[in-house]
C-alpha cells in the first residue's frame, strides 16, 4: 500500500505523518505537493494537520480548491481510502466529502492536550484493529475543532454508524462529543485528534497505530462499516 500525504502551504504535520508511515510502520509514503493533479499511483491519501493557506477565510476553505483536492475528490469517488487529520478533517468538510463543519472551540482557546476517546465503530476499514467501545489516548491540538452539524445530519450520522470516535470529556464543545466521523460509503474518515503523534512509546502513546494498521490490514478487502 502506497500512501500519498498532500502538502499544502502551511501544512505542519506532514512530516510527522510520513515518519509514522515510513519509519514506524515501514509502509511506502510520499509527500505530494498541493499542485499534484493525479493520485492514481496511490492506494490511500492522508490529508495532514496544520494551517493550510494560513487558515485564511476559514480553516480548510482555500485548501479545498487546491489542484490536489480535485484529485482527492476523484480518488474518494473511486472508493479508495481517504483520511483527514485535524486541518485535513476541516478540508474534507469544506470540500463536502464529509458533512458538517468545524467551528471555534467553545472556550475560544487553542487546546493542546491528550484526549481520551471511545472507538464507537470498529467495523470501518480504518478501525478494525480496535475493539468496539475501546478507550484510547490521542493528542489533540486545535483552535477550531468544535464539530457542528444540524439535527437532521446528526440523526443520519447516528443511523448509519458514521460516528467513529467520541471524546470522553468533550474538550471543545463538539455536537454529540464527536471527534471523528466517516462518510456513508465508508472510505472517507475525518478526525480532529492526531493518531500520527501516538505511534511510539516515547511519544506517550501508541494508540494511534491502530488506524494505520487497520488500513494496511484491510487493503483490498471489502469492509462494510454498518
Amino acid at each position: 500500500m502506497i500512501f500519498a500525504v498532500p502538502v499544502f502551504p502551511g501544512s505542519n504535520c506532514d512530516h510527522d505523518m510520513v515518519n509514522a508511515l515510513r519509519d514506524v510502520l515501514h509502509a511506502q509514503a510520499d509527500l505530494v505537493p498541493a499542485t499534484t493533479s493525479d493520485l492514481t499511483a496511490y492506494d490511500a491519501v492522508i490529508l495532514p494537520g496544520g494551517f493550510s493557506y494560513g487558515d485564511y477565510l476559514r480553516s480548510g476553505a482555500i485548501a479545498r480548491f487546491a489542484p490536489v483536492m480535485t484529485a482527492v475528490q476523484a480518488f474518494a469517488a473511486a472508493g479508495k481510502p481517504v483520511m483527514g487529520i485535524c486541518n485535513g478533517f476541516q478540508i474534507l468538510t469544506e470540500a463536502g466529502l464529509l458533512p458538517g463543519a468545524l467551528q471555534a472551540n467553545r472556550s475560544a482557546k487553542f487546546i493542546c492536550q491528550t484526549s481520551e476517546l471511545v472507538v464507537r465503530n470498529s467495523q470501518t476499514q480504518f478501525t478494525t484493529t480496535y475493539t468496539e467501545n475501546q478507550h484510547i489516548q490521542l493528542p489533540i491540538a486545535h483552535g477550531e475543532g468544535n464539530y457542528y452539524c444540524d439535527d437532521a445530519t446528526l440523526a443520519e450520522l447516528q443511523a448509519h454508524h458514521q460516528i467513529v470516535f467520541e471524546y470522553v470529556d468533550n474538550p471543545n464543545g463538539s455536537v454529540a462529543n464527536i471527534a471523528g466521523i466517516i462518510n456513508r460509503a465508508g472510505n472517507v474518515l475525518g478526525m480532529m485528534p492526531h493518531p500520527e503523534r501516538a505511534v511510539e512509546a516515547i511519544l506517550g502513546s501508541t494508540d494511534g497505530l491502530g488506524l494505520f494498521k487497520s488500513l494496511l490490514a484491510n487493503q483490498g478487502r471489502e469492509v462494510t462499516h454498518a
Binding site: 477565510l57 476553505a61 480548491f65 463543519a101 471555534a104 444540524d150 464543545g173
Partner: protein, 84 residues
C-alpha cells in the same frame, strides 16, 4: 462595473466565542448596556459586468467560498459604479 459588499455572519445556532470575548471586554470598559456582539466578515468586491447576471455570480461565490453555509449566512448589496 459593480461594487459588491458582502456580509457573512454566523447562524444563530453557532457559537461565536470571539464575539462573546469582545462583548465581555466592552463590559469591562464600562459599556454595561451592551447586550450582545456578533463578529462577522465583510468583503468588498469590484466586479466588471460579465455575461452572467451579477446576483447569480455573487450567490455562487458566497455559496462556494465566501461563506460556509453549514454555519454561516450571508447578505450583500450591489451598487453599480459609474464608468470612468
Amino acid at each position: 462595473m459593480y461594487l459588491v459588499k458582502v456580509y457573512v455572519t454566523y447562524k444563530e445556532s453557532i457559537l461565536d466565542p470571539k464575539g462573546e470575548a469582545v462583548n465581555d471586554a466592552l463590559h469591562r470598559l464600562g459599556y454595561t448596556n451592551v447586550q450582545s456582539v456578533e463578529l462577522g466578515k465583510y468583503f468588498e468586491l469590484k466586479l466588471a459586468a460579465g455575461s452572467r447576471p451579477v446576483e447569480a455570480q455573487v450567490d455562487e461565490m458566497c455559496d462556494r467560498l465566501l461563506a460556509n453555509v453549514n454555519m454561516e449566512t450571508y447578505r450583500y448589496e450591489i451598487t453599480e459604479l459609474e464608468a470612468l
